[in-house]
Amino acid sequence: MQNELQSAPILLFNDECGVCRSIANWVKKQIQAGSVATSIVVRPIGQDPNELRSLNQGLNIWDAYATIHLLMPDGSMKLGGEAVAEVLRQLPATRWFTWTFAISVFGVRPFQAILNLAYAILADVRPVFGCESCGTPSPWVRPIRWIVKRAESLFGGIHHPSAIRHFSSLPARGRPPQTHHI
């Protein structure tokens, strides 16, 4: 991994989150489909804080799960919308428009600001799409989540076992309910 860190950016993704997994898979496909050489490593964050620190001493595993991180070969890290912009810059299919993110008007980069906002919204709405481990939805997302859950209950018959606010139930995270007894 150290060699990969030195030669290519590393995109860390949350493999417990369906939305994040889908985006990571899309990035991987774009890399494979590109005719131009693209060097970007896509890897799950994993569960080992020490292994992550070996990639970058400043990297905290909790932060990695909270926000998208791109580890750059020079040892710096790009986060959130800046990380997304850099990934798009690296991909053959999207790099053509990424020059817009550098446009600055009176010190403000409007297109980068839009991308940052889009990332923040996407991060906030992940619980709506079934990522219960992504935490308690932001206040503005809760009505949307409530509507989605009611719709699922009415039309899909989906049962949401976790009614507790500060709790990520395991069945919702892809594990079957356990029936073991001590």
Partner: protein, 115 residues
């Protein structure tokens, strides 16, 4: 989430060390069943670090990553994270699932079973 990055006051316990450190450990022992991908676990982490500092003379607090040690999670019928289980002399004497992430609440939770 500042405040817990410099000193980690919560030791990680694994399936290998669980027997020695928890079941055969002396005094009150609290185990947080968690995973790093669980945002709720991230939310209580700073408070849990503070609580670990407050109670360190009387209680030990460990974390157990259920993504790494699933068998222990199954054994203790963990339905979600974070789940706090309070042990005394190897026996479970208290349990709380999804505690509210404020220091006073967690402090009460980890003290109450031992009073």
């Amino acid at each position: 989430m500042p405040g817990y990055k410099s000193i980690d006051r919560i030791q990680t316990v694994t399936a290998i060390s669980f027997d020695q450190q928890v079941l055969k450990g002396e005094g009150p022992i609290v185990v947080e069943f968690m995973s790093y991908g669980c945002a709720h676990c991230g939310a209580i982490e700073p408070s849990l670090q503070q609580v670990a500092e407050i109670v360190e003379s009387t209680e030990k607090i460990f974390r157990l990553n259920i993504e790494v040690d699933r068998e222990l999670a199954d054994l203790y019928e963990i339905q979600g994270t974070p789940t706090l289980i309070m042990f005394l002399n190897g026996a479970v004497i208290g349990r709380d699932e999804g505690p509210s992430p404020d220091v006073s609440n967690i402090l009460a939770l980890v003290r109450q079973p031992y009073e």
